[in-house]
Amino acid sequence: MSKNLALIGNPNVGKTAVFNELTGQTGHVANWPGVTVEKKTGKMDKEFDVIDLPGVYSLSPSAIDEMIARNFIVKDKPDLIVDILDATNLERNLYLAFLLKELEVPIIYVLNLMDVAKKRNIEVDVDKLAELLGAPVIPTVAIKGEGIDAVKTKIRKIFSDGKLAQKSSIPVKYSKEIEDKIQRTEELLKKDAPHFLSDKRRWAAIKLLEEDKEVIKEISASPNGIVVIENVKRFASGSEEFDLAGERYNIISEIIGQTYKRDKDMITTSDILDKIFLHKYFGIPIFFMIMWSMFEFTFRVSAPLGTLIELGLGALGDLITIAWPEDAWYTSLVLDGIIGGFGAVIGFVPLIFTMFLVLSFLEDSGYLSRAAFNMDRLMYKLGLHGRSFVSLILGFGCNIPAVMSCRAIESEEDRLTTILVNQNISCGARLPVYVLLGGFILGDGATGTIIFSLYFLGIVIAILMALFFKKVIFKGETAPFILELGDYRMPTVKYTGIHMWERGREFIKKAGLIIFTVVVLMWVLQSIGVDPDTGLLAWGTDPENSLLAGIGHLFQPLFAPLRWSWIAAVGIVFGFLAKEVVVAAFGLILAGEEEPEGLGKLVVGNLAVAGVAAAAMPALVYGYLVFVLLYTPCVAHLGAVYKETGSKKWTLVSATYGIAIGYILALIINLIGGVYF
């Protein structure tokens, strides 16, 4: 049977980096607390299952991600716990180490971030530390892979020797007063609830004294549990949680005094950067500048690459037109379906990838927790939390991980609200539509402004909806803002690259599976149609009579008040599967038509029903873009909302409110823009 190794530690200490090195996987590593929100398993040496857990400061969870980590450690009984410690912040990291020691389970310690510690002139006496902790301590630099072999060797040795570092489990001894109470509680447990955590009775006793919510909940559910709680209350003073924390930190101070030397007055780069990024007056303007340059960079860098791909695809198309028989079905599949439809999406790959790159850089730099710090007040006014802000920013990449990241938000009300408003943050998949059509509203030069206005509108709607949800539906206190502001780190090319690639890979998977399949499906639907002479279904009829057009005509009445054509309707309907498909649908349907000025122009020419004045087209196009921004991001997003809320009701709310707001706004824009006159 394979052995379980659980990686645990404070948030942002490099657990996932260690996990990646041990297992050869590429889990998401980033520089802010709360990146990993679910447990992830990988293999080391075939015989070990390594489990990466969300970061925790204690074993008394207050958010879902912490609960996952705590339950794994307490209930799933891993064969060995690998506690990752941050060498630059050892004192606080040792607190969790002591909580783990109390569990009296086999443990080893990995002292990570040794490179940063060295730079700061921090000296750690590793051998002495191991002696005082009573378990092996192995120094590492996880992102460079240094020390990982030593960790592996140690793990193998522990299991092959068969003596599971049991001596590490010398119980932590507290003052006589506390020890007495622990003992009395243990006796009560033995008498009245003998089966409750029987292998961890001392630990259970400590947690009962501390009034740990989870343990109290668990014991209340077991026979006679309430009796134990009542009896403990008789001699407990209620300050045990305090006293224990104090005593633990006292022992830790002692250990630190013997093993750890640091230069107290050293000013770190992070301190200096914080003076700038958290500056009283400049902090917020700098924040906006960072966001702005992110987008600016994304567009400027990716534009030439996108054009290159388009040119390449165009040339390929010309070649095929010359070389292949014109009326063969495969010519149509490749020309209309793949180059026209799928190619329209592929042209935007550089754009989407650059966006991922920029976001990865931001995440790895350590700035995100600063953004949360800068914005918490504003979020608080909206009834939300600084943490929600981080989730919102992640939405610029993709709303699905953003929805998942909400697990780190403590209060259930905040979490649900943040999940439900995230969809308004414009993800990378919607960008191609904006780029394709944005130039037809105020002219080519203003594409950037239009795109910016859409992003901005999304943020405004997110804020308004947050206010609505939080003030009307999920009333409740916002949880305290307790956030560690860790060090900035220069993102390494390797890690930012891996990170971008992880996201990019998801995108390519999506492009390869969903988008490609949908495009081929649409092509088939476009190729089959009703023959006007016979009234029967036939292959290769006029696109106007195709099944795809039929679907468009079927849904078009829904959008008739907005004056959208059946082609516009097809884009919206299939875009529900993935927003990139909107562009692909246009590319496919309009593939046969000539338009030297490009697809965008063609689309604009076909977006409205007959009778809409040319002067009103900009408004209609903008309304369309606003609808694309606000309606359900995609089915996968709904899946994520369902998974995270566990509620059909909220999933339905998520799906419908965006459509409703988008529709109303598009109507209003049409009205203002003169579409109806």
């Binding site: 207050s62 949680e241 924390a245 104090g246 914080d274 918490d376 007040r377 305290p480 502001l485």
Partner: protein, 72 residues
């Protein structure tokens, strides 16, 4: 005095922490006897950034009101 009233960049020692938040902050090192200093406030005035146990922690004023400190 309350931690929320402590002037910036003044070293102080924690005397007591309200029971309401103790389970949340004890693990972070916010316990009686620990030295603490406010480094700055967020540009919008809240939350505050503290230096405690050699790292930087951010808490809202609201929570800082529940922490008693004395200057040292």
């Amino acid at each position: 005095m309350k931690l929320s009233e402590l002037p910036f960049n003044t070293q102080a020692k924690i005397i007591s922490v309200d029971k309401k938040i103790i389970s949340r902050v004890a693990a972070m090192g916010v316990i009686p006897g620990t030295e603490v200093k406010i480094i700055r406030a967020s540009p919008l005035g809240d939350p505050l950034e503290l230096e405690i146990k050699n790292y930087n922690l951010s808490l809202r004023k609201q929570e800082c009101k529940l922490i008693e400190v004395e200057k040292i």
